[in-house]
Subunit: 83 residues, 2 copies
């Protein structure tokens, strides 16, 4: 049986980059009475299952995928978590 | 100085619920040569800063927010992580 490598890539806006979606959610929540919510920032969590690769190969592959396709390097940062 | 409570809400599709967005990404990646990528599932990571609440009040508030506004309880599950 082939073993699957499970990995998660978290993509977030870099510190200091405005998050209009987060601001919209924050304002909506304040309007609904959650005035203690000062800031909201939204990111993505992308889970992968990889077959036929080692953990290190998986990490290299997902760094490539994140650089090219998942994250916009101008405004976003990412991190890779492997199991 | 008032202390901020930082919290993260992770929203994911429940196990067994189809993820068309993840499938589209997976197929694109296979087409681009990443044939070892068997499955992709996409979730949200929402970071909050709360003021004037205790950690326990923050947890209660965010469970309410997640139930009402962030997650669709039919197809999604969430978890709250507080610092």
């Amino acid at each position: 049986m082939e073993e699957l490598v499970k990995a998660t890539v978290i993509v977030e806006l870099k510190d200091g980059v405005l998050d209009p979606q987060g601001q919209a959610i924050q304002q909506l929540l304040v309007q609904r009475g959650y005035s203690q919510i000062e800031q909201v920032r939204v990111g993505k969590k992308v889970e992968f299952e990889l077959s036929g690769v080692s953990v290190e190969q998986g990490r290299t592959m997902l760094a490539e995928v994140a650089d090219k396709l998942l994250a916009n390097p101008i405004i976003e940062q990412y991190r890779i978590e492997l199991e």
